[in-house]
């Protein structure tokens, strides 16, 4: 068993010339509740590449958010990361000490959340919250910048003094022409204008915050900095969240359902913005969503999660063109679309399994129409079946080629049809 798993993980390489930036290996996060151990994430492995968007798609309770939180080690009690590796730039984040990990959060790996109203502190102004990120991770840079600006400022001050002295001298010896005098006067005026405010730590912070808000398409950032989150619209709030996430130019941005709480037109705005920013900042994005449309819109690769496992992992174009796993197929055909004007939508029978007592073998087998005899006995692992295409399903495993198809009993069919 151990052997198979390690083999499987080693094989997860995608055919790409891009550099691997994050590697999640066999991640397991369990919640120790009173009812029992909830295996929310049970052996998830995937890779992220530079300048790419990976979509993590699945239904409620499939463990996609917990996976993301596990990467940043933000899982709340009673959740615990049981085992696995999260390798970011050759460092296993899970072995790091708390203090070290904090340096990665918000700087190299950042996160935005579903509900922008609750994700912003209601009693702090937008400005305070945006500035905080800079203060946490760019203190030295700001001080360097401050020194630089101070130097400039002093130089300008000196220049003003110089020029004033020139004018004073001129009063005695009258060597300058009228034009030269007016030039000098203009220059002094200009310099005085520029040096009116002495550069401070706060002013630089403010300037930086203003710039980043402008970057995410917030009109009138000066004013927004003074506002409280509840005074902004949903789209604006999500923009503020994005600006905080991008302020330190992170390598990875984890977006946990960033558009779910927003209206369709605002959702389009935010997706558009994320696409632009991703190209501009060369940030890799882990996009977590339940909306296949969003995935298709923005993602390069997709990992489909079901009940704590990744069941399909492929490039977005291949996956949508020809989904292999029965769950993915079911999911796609359950979505009402404009071209299939059918009388009835296809559904997946039954409902999501209990994660405390998940089904034996493949976790999808009680709902699967293509079920084989072997499915409730052996757990399928992600295996490569084509170029950059991985599926965890026995249907595609040559080992079980001859396994007979499972015959659904009539009563069983009837029972599962009704929830």
């Amino acid at each position: 068993m151990e052997d198979i798993e390690s083999r499987n993980i080693a094989n997860l390489e995608m055919e790409t010339d891009k550099k691997k930036i994050l590697e999640v290996k066999n991640l397991k996060t369990y919640f120790y509740t009173e009812e029992g151990v909830v295996k929310a994430v049970d052996g998830v492995s995937f890779n992220m590449y530079e300048d790419e968007v990976l979509g993590l798609v699945g239904e409620t309770g499939c463990g996609k958010s917990v996976t993301a939180l596990s990467i940043l080690q933000l899982v709340r009690a009673p959740g615990e990361i049981e085992e696995g590796e999260v390798i970011f730039k050759n460092v296993d984040l899970l072995t790091l000490k708390k203090k070290k990990m904090r340096d990665y959060r918000g700087k190299d790996i950042t996160m935005i959340f579903q509900d922008p109203l609750n994700s912003l502190n209601p009693v702090m102004t937008v400005g305070t919250q945006v500035k905080e990120v800079f203060e946490l991770h760019q203190r030295e840079e700001i001080y360097e910048l401050l020194d630089q600006k101070m130097l400039e400022w002093k130089n300008k001050q000196n220049r003003i003094k110089e020029l004033e002295k020139k004018l004073e001298d001129n009063e005695t010896n009258q060597r300058l022409t009228k034009e030269e005098i007016s030039d000098i006067k203009n220059e002094i005026e200009k310099l005085e204008e520029e040096t009116r405010d002495r550069p401070t730590y706060r002013s630089i912070l403010r300037e930086k915050s203003r710039k980043i808000l402008e970057e995410v398409g917030i009109p009138d950032p000066e004013e927004i900095l003074e506002r409280y989150p509840h005074e902004l619209s949903g789209g604006m709030r999500q923009r503020v969240m994005i600006s905080m996430a991008l302020s330190c130019n992170p390598s990875i941005l984890i977006a946990d359902e960033p558009t779910t709480a927003l209206d369709v037109t605002i959702q389009a705005q935010i997706l558009d913005l994320m696409k632009d920013l991703k190209n501009e900042y060369k940030t890799s994005v882990l996009m977590i969503t339940h909306d296949l449309g969003v995935i298709a819109e923005i993602c390069d690769r997709v990992a489909v999660m079901y009940s704590g496992n990744i069941v399909e992992y492929a490039t977005a174009t291949n996956l949508f063109k020809n989904p292999r796993h029965p769950y993915t197929k079911g999911l796609i055909s359950a979505i009402p679309t404009l071209d299939k004007k059918k009388k009835e939508l296809d559904t997946i029978r039954g409902s999501v399994p209990n994660l405390i007592y998940p089904p034996e073998g493949c976790r999808f087998h009680p709902r699967c129409d293509y079920r084989l005899e072997v499915c409730d006995k052996v757990r399928p692992l992600l295996t490569q079946i084509g170029e950059s295409y991985f599926v965890a399903c026995h249907l595609f495993d040559p080992q079980y080629k001859d396994s007979p198809k499972y015959e659904w009993g009539k009563e069983e069919l009837e029972r599962t049809r009704k929830i």
């Binding site: 209206d263 979505i335 404009l338 409902s351 009704k418």
Partner: protein, 442 residues
């Protein structure tokens, strides 16, 4: 475990004949509905303004038909539902249920205007009486204070008339008022039963401390007078079977169910009183895709089986495409486009509908088209923009005349079905504007 077969369920398939005999099958008609929420403020908590949540909306709902109300949050689609159910007072306009007025604005001015406009010269010339006051007193007990003052004033006016005229007027006023209040009080029992609502958040609409049998049984007890434990349980079980739930679910509590099952329970509760209309307020937006498909299928089956009419409120265009027959697209309390599903999806004509359609993320690469991304947010309905409410965000603003000045007009789109209208302004180029467009409200 026993599986109850569908045949054993006895839910009367009534109204068949009745339905066919009706003239044009219109079951609900909304006429120029306006719902404004007052903004209370100032030193003495006065009304300092109003939110125009619904601002002049008219539509008809036919039997066995589904109307899709589409729009973004805050556009007033839920307010329409709440107004129809009399959960919020209607400010202006009327709602007819099978040709009878069930909702009228209760504003004093409106009533006054109505009563006064009915008092013609001849009615005054006819009449007489002292009984007016005695009759009124009985009625006044039920009246609101505002109306009381109104009648007080009228009394004074009437007292100047000769005695004979007085009686006629008072009789007339009495009748009008009685009619008015009858229509209002009968609403609660009778109409409430026939119009049911399913809300978005299944958790919020199920009392966590009640068993399923009590949750579904409650409307049966209250509105249908079914008492007796056995009878009630039997009926609840029938309803549960209709929504594919089973006997063992009867005595469970809501927290033991998944989101989809909870929504089924709510649908069962809505069905409890044999409604004719069900207003579905985002019934699937809190659910996962696969569960959403189950619920949509269920709703479609139920519609066929029980002759239901749906008002389906949603922001999801794919869902509305799947389930609706006709669609109304809303923006800031007003309709911007209405038509059949094919009209809207094959020939979206209003810029907002176009943007909405293109903004919807789709995973089918063949269906992907150039996206129109609207700028900015929906303006506040407290202070809506002048003219066409959509004009600050409109991507075709340059092509039309008077977007920020004139109210949009109802324009018929020719070549499509009879019912395809948009609410827009004419094109700048004269020729272009009238090609295939027909102005209605000029």
């Amino acid at each position: 475990m026993t599986i109850v077969e569908e045949q054993s369920i006895e839910i009367p398939k009534k109204r068949e004949k009745e339905a066919n005999s009706k003239r044009d099958n219109v079951i609900l008609r909304v006429e120029n509905m306006k719902t404004y929420y007052p903004i209370i403020g100032g030193f003495f908590k006065r009304r300092i303004g109003e939110v125009k949540a619904v601002d002049g909306v008219s539509f008809k709902l036919h039997r066995r038909e589904t109307i899709g109300l589409v729009g973004e949050s805050g556009c007033g689609k839920t307010t329409i539902a709440n107004t129809i159910l009399n959960l919020v007072p209607i400010t202006k306009g009327r709602v007819y249920y099978k040709g009878k007025v069930i909702l009228k604005s209760t504003e004093t001015k409106e009533v006054l205007k109505e009563i006064l406009s009915s008092i013609t010269f001849s009615t005054i010339m006819d009449s007489v009486s002292y009984f007016f006051i005695a009759k009124m007193k009985k009625l006044l007990e039920k009246l609101e204070i505002e109306l009381f003052h109104l009648f007080q004033k009228l009394k004074i006016i009437i007292s100047y008339f000769p005695e004979k005229i007085r009686e006629k007027i008072s009789n007339f006023l009495y009748r009008t008022a009685k009619r008015y209040f009858r229509s209002k009080s009968s609403f609660k029992n009778k109409i409430r039963r026939n119009i049911q609502m399913v809300f978005q958040d299944p958790d919020a609409s199920l009392n966590p401390r009640m068993k399923i049998v009590d949750i579904i049984g409650e409307p049966l007890k209250l509105l249908k007078n079914i008492t007796g434990r056995r009878k009630l349980r039997k009926r609840v079980l029938e309803l549960l079977n209709v929504v594919s739930l089973k006997r063992e679910h009867l005595d469970r509590y809501p927290h033991e169910f998944s989101g989809g099952q909870k929504q089924r329970i709510i649908i069962a509760r809505a069905l409890a009183c044999d409604p004719e209309i069900i207003i579905l307020d985002e019934p699937t937006s809190a659910l996962d895709v696969s569960v959403q498909a189950q619920i949509l299928n269920l709703l479609k089956n139920l519609q066929k089986r029980f002759d239901l009419s749906y008002i389906f409120i949603t922001h999801d265009l794919s869902v509305v495409h799947h389930i609706a027959d006709r669609i109304k697209v809303m923006y800031l309390g007003k309709f911007v486009e209405e038509g059949t599903v094919d009209d809207i999806f094959n020939n979206p004509s209003h810029p907002y509908t176009k943007a909405l359609l293109s903004a919807r993320p789709t995973f089918d690469p063949t269906l992907r088209r150039e996206r129109i991304i609207l700028e900015g947010d929906v303006p506040s309905p407290i202070n809506p923009p002048a003219g066409c409410p959509f004009n600050p965000r409109c991507q075709e603003k340059d092509k039309h005349i008077g977007c920020g000045i004139d109210e949009p007009r109802k324009i018929k789109i020719e070549g499509d079905s009879e019912e395809h209208f948009i609410f827009c302004l004419p094109f700048i180029e004269e020729k272009k504007s009238y090609k295939g467009w027909q102005f209605i409200s000029d």
